[in-house]
Symmetry: C2
Subunit: 333 residues, 2 copies
């Protein structure tokens, strides 16, 4: 028996980030209902023009063909590609991806989104509010549905304040202080660093600096800071400072309550918050102090679900999230 | 008429760091009196075995031959090579350089020193005390003439607290905070960052992260923090924090007064302190609070002079600074 084939419109969502690419195809009128595929486990290459559009296209094409075959769809009506670095490194994608997706899969309407925007759409849908997305890095995005506001996301040397890399770096710095006998050191963090990296600490620079993925190496130590925090005041202080930075970023982007008094929604998303109450406790306290106007809600979905949802709204011609040249570029809409 | 030729013993000092290599040759009994040569303006390459000994040798050889010809010396009795990274990246130099210098120039006694040790010898000679060497990075070394103590110098991701890179990074982070509208931002630093880097700040990550010399780029902004400090409390706060870190590092390595009550000497050396009173004022206050037992003195000489002085003491068989496997390796002494 032939599979039941939907003849309606189909939409594609793509989520591209530091841990690889994922894609999902869904009926435009039921964006929660389609199959998803893990396209590749490595991130898309970054070259002189930023994120490499050919590299993304050649990884995406076979995965989308597989999804089309699974669903029996003949093509894609609308798509949303969310990518880490879209705002600052997305020129190549903005130049090349629309033509590729139109010619290869018939995509007529396309959204090119910063990963923070797809995280927002996944977490909060089209409500006014703010999200903080924190993993190795950290960025906050907020909107009143007229414009976007962004805070941080500037990378481990210029910001990403409160992120995994930020917490891990502060933890390793405290370990080195203890090794040196300087003020502000933490013996528990020193012990954990020696065990995790398998080296006396004077050899840690030689292990860290040659690595191309230094921010990820720093972030790998963040869970150790979380583990030490209940019994180590230095580690607890690092998490308190991170919580303050996260709340500052949220406060900088969160809109005012709407005219009818509805409070903006606020969601915390990303792998950092899996650290649990040792971090989310202080974050909740700092948010209550700095952003009492917002209502903290659980994220409804992830960035891939957000990308599919944006594509579905594009297909319906009813996207409420505001376009933005860097954060949410709409093509053919 | 033939030049007057000294027939006594000659010693060689070498200073290798981020801004190149310099060498100086001097009579062993008058180490202040010889000619110096700038060997190369670029730093010695770093490879898989650390600082590349062949690269250093091939740059050093013609410069030393020139110095020998200038002085009429027939060879070198003792030498001291001070190099940035000697402690952690010096395995290749320790393996190869002694044989090269013995076979090529007849060097019988050699000291392989961390640049902090030659800075110490240049600044304080062979007195007990401590130095803080701060430029792009920052390290503190102290000795009671029995052993060395080291603090920091772990690079821009693990420490170098209070250094040029540290101050510049804090300044740029404050600029990004102002750009975002986050707490803790500085509009004066934002304005200076836009002017210095010639870009709106959202494009700064794209200018910084592709650079191989990111710590130097960060440090290049430190003087701007110094310029803003008199009228900007955020910039002043950064310098106050840097001063505190410098004092903490000094306190961690400075020896106790000697048995006869002589206070240890303390010197601040390196390019960072050219920032002047805007930094040295707070550093003096923090040192007075944390390290009242030390006497702050002006550095007598630079690291190249320190290297020559160590070589002269080696030639005389009377080096008082203590040997150390990583910081001051003595060969043939």
């Amino acid at each position: 028996m032939a599979p039941a084939v939907r003849t309606g419109s189909w939409v594609l969502g793509v989520d591209s980030g530091g841990s690889g690419i994922r894609a999902a195809l869904a009926p435009a009128d039921a964006p929660g209902g389609g199959p998803a595929a893990s396209v590749a486990a490595e991130p898309v290459r970054t070259g002189p023009s930023g994120i490499d559009p050919e590299h993304m296209a050649e990884r995406l094409a076979p995965a989308v063909r597989t999804l089309l075959a699974e669903t029996g769809a003949s093509g894609v009506d609308a798509a949303c590609v969310g990518a880490a670095g879209m705002a600052t490194l997305g020129d190549g994608l903005r130049a090349e991806l629309p033509g590729f997706l139109r010619e290869t899969f018939g995509v007529r309407r396309l959204a090119l989104a910063a990963d923070g925007v797809t995280a927002y759409a996944g977490a909060l849908g089209e409500r006014p509010g703010a999200v903080v997305v924190a993993g190795t890095g950290a960025i906050a995005l907020g909107t009143d549905l007229r414009a976007w506001r962004r805070a941080d996301g500037w990378g481990h040397l210029l910001g990403d304040c409160g992120s995994g890399a930020w917490i891990g770096q502060a933890g390793l710095e405290a370990a080195m202080r203890a090794y040196d006998g300087r003020d502000g050191g933490s013996q528990p963090l020193r012990t954990r660093a020696e065990q995790v990296f398998g080296t006396p600490l004077h050899a840690l620079p030689g292990k860290l600096y040659p690595r191309p993925d230094r921010p990820a190496v720093l972030a790998s130590f963040a869970p150790e800071v979380g583990r030490c925090a209940p019994r180590d005041p230095v580690a607890a202080g690092i998490l308190r400072s991170a919580a303050r930075e996260i709340a500052r970023s949220a406060a900088a982007v969160c809109p005012e309550p709407s005219a009818d008094g509805t409070e903006p929604a606020l969601a915390l998303t990303g792998g950092l918050f899996r650290m649990g109450a040792t971090l989310t406790g202080p974050v909740g306290e700092e948010l209550a102090a700095r952003l009492p106007r917002a209502r903290l809600v659980d994220a409804a979905g992830d960035p891939l679900q957000g990308a599919v949802a944006v594509a579905a709204r594009l297909a319906a011609g009813s996207l409420a999230l505001p376009a933005d040249p860097a954060l949410l570029r709409l093509v053919g809409a």
